[in-house]
Symmetry: C2
Subunit: 323 residues, 2 copies
């Protein structure tokens, strides 16, 4: 298939992997916004970095699968990785003006998704229930990840690479209103938080305007009426994938790529109605448990681990489906 | 009276106005922390500025009474005014790394004091009720100011001088838990907030360590248990002194000094059990209403306006007391 055709008025229409690579390395761009879902974002992001483009990163799976590789390559090519995920944008904003060594830890907030409190029995969750996110209007895959808290787990790993912090210094707090987008705790005990309406235009604008804040007409937080912000520790018994992500992150090497690949497959099966909601965790745990971690993987190791994990996840999911 | 005597072990004991001036201009100090209550802080602060000391300012009345004078003198002598009030410290922390023109406004949080909701009839408030602040353990004068919201009004004027913002860009929001100490709203709609336990050691340490954040062992905010932060617009019918302060601030010139002097006297009378809680507002309003504002006052104008306001406030308070 041709990766390029001419649309009307000289507009170029590109598609597929080749199209992604062409867009990622398009001449004349300073910054590439990568907003793909899943590991599909990895290769174009690497290509954009090699082409010297700053990366406005909305694709968390890229750093989850290949954080060491991507950040190392970015350093080598002198390009910046600018977070676009709302939580990481919040942390980045809170870090402005701070100095190395002043950060004690970060606190990622999580809406908790639609199943924070109910149904009590999560095996009853249907696809349409999982796609009904209370605060954010997003794609299907990330919406399911929000419902399992895997999304927060991926963000924990993403944060580790973006901000160079140990996992012990990355906390998750459930904040159902999604107004505080995340926080930084400093060595003096002071906490700085970024707040805003749940609207992705703000972090996108911040990344593209950085280091300047561009004026914007987005709706403002309204302080003229009563407002309540609540915070709870995450229920890790109910949402075990969050701890799975911490474990994969701590294992390091190929483990996060494997966990992420297994999760992508399991979510696909769930969205197709072929496995239940709780089986997403079972598939991911099983694939991660069987994987032999390679400690300092290169790109080929990561892609290979990803492929193997997907195959195994598919087999396991089909088995569960046949029950 | 001598302003100086020698205590044991060569420790110098100083007192009175002369003692304050000597402490404020003490040789060898880089920074003077002014933590007096009331207009008493003005002269030593001016002396410290003239002596080239940076000012860590915990005395809001200094900027309320003579904001233009104090900030002008600080600029002339190249000294910094570092906020120590928890709200202003919060805003200062939130502003780190931002550029001129990026601030849309600031949001000062207020606990709302002990009488936010009850008693319904504020004329029933006694001195001991007013001194029982829910979150902060402070001096008597500022605790009463918190109960009338005059404290927040003084802080609005203080913020105007510290951060150079019009009154229209300074909002007040009631936040009874005193965890978010204040916020900055930027031109893109993003809001940055500073959080911490209500403990003055943090803003003091931040001012003294600035521009570095020094590690500290203060207790941390605990995110491992449920937490609820609430926000309400201030009830200006119940606490009219907040709007009085905005009005005095907008009048400018000698008006804030006069309002502040009248408030100091009225609070003294209240603390002495000589006027009721609601009479504080009556005295302040009456004194401010009778004052002819002088637009560009020098120090003598301010001190004169302050003296006259105190005399008038005393006469009015005694009349109320005789009722």
């Amino acid at each position: 298939m041709l990766a390029e055709e001419f649309g009307r008025e000289g507009c170029r229409v590109l598609w597929g992997d080749e199209g992604l690579l062409a867009a990622a390395t398009c001449p004349g761009a300073h910054t590439v916004l990568t907003a793909l879902t899943g590991t599909a974002g990895l290769m174009p992001t690497l290509a954009a970095i090699k082409a010297g483009r700053d990366i406005a990163l909305a694709n968390k799976e890229t750093l989850v699968a290949a954080g060491s590789l991507v950040t190392g390559l970015a350093e080598k090519h002198g390009v910046k990785i600018l977070p676009v995920d709302s939580e990481h944008s919040a942390i980045w904003q809170c870090l402005q003006g701070s100095k190395p060594g002043e950060v004690e830890g970060i606190i990622l907030t999580a809406s908790g998704g639609p199943f924070r409190k109910q149904p009590e029995d999560l095996s009853l969750v249907t696809v349409s229930m999982a796609l009904d996110h209370p605060n954010w209007n997003m794609g299907k895959k990330i919406t399911v990840d929000s419902a399992t808290l895997m999304n927060k787990g991926l963000e924990v790993i993403e944060a580790r690479w973006l901000f160079g912090l140990d996992y012990g210094r990355i906390k998750v707090v459930i904040h159902p209103q999604s107004i505080i987008h995340s926080m930084v705790e400093f060595v003096d005990g002071s906490v700085v938080a970024q707040l805003g309406l749940p609207d992705m235009r703000l972090p996108i604008q911040y990344a593209l305007g950085y280091p300047r804040r561009l004026p914007g007409r987005l709706p403002r937080l309204d302080w003229n009426s009563a407002r309540e912000l609540t915070f709870d520790p995450p229920d890790t018994a109910r949402f075990p994938l969050l701890e799975t992500a911490y474990r994969a992150g701590r294992l390091g090497g190929t483990a996060p790529a494997v966990m992420n690949a297994a999760n992508e497959v399991a979510v696909e099966f769930f969205l197709a109605g072929r496995i239940g909601f709780m089986s997403i965790h079972r598939v991911v745990e099983e694939v991660l448990g069987r994987h032999r971690v390679s400690g300092r993987p290169d790109l080929e190791d990561i892609l290979e681990a990803d492929r193997e994990a997907r195959q195994l996840a598919r087999r396991l999911a089909e088995k569960l489906n046949n029950f």
